[in-house]
Amino acid sequence: MSSPVLFVIVGRNEPLFEAEIDTAHSSAIDSPGGGGGGGQQSELSTRQNYFVLHSALDLVEKSAWTTNSMYLRVVDKVNQQQVSTFLTAANVKFMLLHGGKGEDVIKNFFNEVYGYYVKLSMNPFYKYDTPITSKAFDARVRAAARAYLS
């Protein structure tokens, strides 16, 4: 079973990047800025997803200093949904909301995205802790999500 996943990169004060990715469909249904599915139902669940994800941030702050690994595994569970987190060396938070995928699968996904993030931050015009607007970055994150999480 594949369900949509929500991936957010959070900086010190604000989200830097968001992607809602429907891993069930391999085609270009998901466009930048949110899922393609219409109707009020999905609208509601999208909002709830953001709520769950952002409320997990406190737990991330708490566990951030207790381990020196970047991958924090599942930090929060609400009903069927789980929030996995990855912290980069400069404490930028990668948050993934999903319906219970394997730990290693998510780790691989995070590692790939981390590579893209580091490359992106090597761009002299990208300033640390500012929103990510690169279309290429968006496309690669979505491709990675489909490759690893479907």
Binding site: W65, A89, N91, G115, M122
Partner: protein, 248 residues
């Protein structure tokens, strides 16, 4: 000119590795010296005082530090994590400020393939003085010392600081340290990793017989330096409180 590669997206380019000095990952010293002297002159014309000039150089380095932190941590994952043992020794030769103790680091465990963040104060300092220094200057910093009187102060010492090698300080700018740029980089690395600190660069005279260059020089044909660069790192109180809490 070099525009042929510009069609490749930055995300498709390889990041390179820390050990390998691949073609293109090392900037020629003359190019660096030229552009750095331009940078110093640019800020010198716009700064009214020595402290303002240093502050400008520091803020130029700060953003570099944030990037260097991510890049070095990412590359370290491919090669090895570096666990260190820490030995505290008293240093009789040290002349800077009150007595500082010398900290030796040594590799202990076999390389691991884990991605790692630095969460402890000592490990981030070793990360800066070894990994970051190597990736920036091709060598580790010469020593890392801790103040005995002030628990929040550490010093990173470099006997051959590249940034100030080709900058001669005019007499009217007496106290200026041209390594302020590097202290900004160090501050950026520490701040990014969550260890907020005030980092200042100082030029300190090298005592007779304190340092002799062993083996091959970094820069061939340059006479020995008369002063060393001392980067004084002063952590903010909350960092020390947190580190003390982690100790338990």
């Amino acid at each position: 000119m070099a525009m042929s590669r510009s069609s490749t997206n930055i995300l498709d380019r390889p990041l390179g590795r820390s050990g390998g000095r691949a073609e293109g990952s090392v900037v020629s010293l003359s190019a660096f010296a030229y552009i750095y002297s331009e940078l110093v002159q640019y800020h010198q014309q716009r700064a009214a005082s020595i402290s303002e000039l240093e502050r400008r150089l520091e803020s130029a380095g700060y953003g570099v530090g944030l990037k260097v932190l991510e890049m070095t941590a990412y590359r370290a994952k491919e090669v090895s994590g570096r666990p260190w043992t820490i030995i505290l020794l008293l240093d009789a030769h040290c002349s800077f400020v009150p007595p500082f103790s010398l900290i030796r680091h040594r590799r202990r465990d076999p390389p691991s393939r884990q991605t790692k963040r630095e969460t402890r104060l000592m490990s981030i300092l070793h990360f800066v003085s070894s990994s970051v220094w190597k990736s920036l200057f091709g060598k580790a910093a010469d020593s890392l010392e801790r103040s005995i009187d002030h628990a929040d102060e550490y010093m990173i010492i470099d006997y051959e600081p590249i940034a100030s090698t080709f900058v001669s300080i005019p007499p009217d700018l007496g106290q200026l340290s041209a390594d302020a740029y590097v202290s900004g980089i160090v501050a950026g690395v520490l701040d990014g990793a969550g260890f907020t600190a005030r980092v200042t660069a100082h030029s300190v005279k090298v005592e007779e017989g304190e340092y002799t260059r062993q083996g091959g020089n970094i820069i061939p044909g340059i006479p020995p330096r008369k002063d060393k660069a001392v980067f004084l790192v002063k952590f903010s109180p909350e960092v020390l409180t947190r580190d003390a809490a982690l100790e338990r």
